[in-house]
Symmetry: C2
Subunit: 83 residues, 2 copies
């Protein structure tokens, strides 16, 4: 059993409307010292299997085909064995 953590964030230079609006709301709440807000999505996947390399390949595929848009996103995968 493995636990895969996929972190998906926007590439540099891609505008982050959710971050921009979060920042606006934070300013409206009265916290002008906050200078920047950025959002990141993480997917935690629990995967059955014994071969870490195969699991890694599968997660790569899942990222490329479902979880991320290669035009705007960059992603990182970390895989840990789970007991």
């Amino acid at each position: 059993m493995f636990e895969a953590k996929v972190t998906v964030q926007l590439k540099k230079g891609i505008s982050d409307p959710e971050g921009v609006n979060t920042l606006k709301a934070i300013h409206l709440l009265g916290f002008p010292k906050v200078k920047n807000a950025k959002t990141i999505r993480t997917f935690n996947l629990t995967i059955d299997g014994t071969d870490k390399n195969q699991v890694k390949k599968d997660v790569e595929q899942i990222c490329q085909r479902l979880l991320t848009n290669p035009v705007i996103h960059q992603y990182e995968i970390t895989i840990e064995e789970k007991k």
Copy 2:
């Protein structure tokens, strides 16, 4: 200048429709070995200031008033000094 990382996830027992649907889609893609999918949001905030305790208090406030819903979410804050 500080960098605050706020991790927001659903409390245990609260259903995660996004995770459920991600899992369904992963199965449809042909990866039945994935047994569970869970989604987590992270906000990275850049904050001006010199007093770490004050920054922490501000981020607490921002979490409680804006970023999270205390009924369904649990959150974690980590603050690092940035040069």
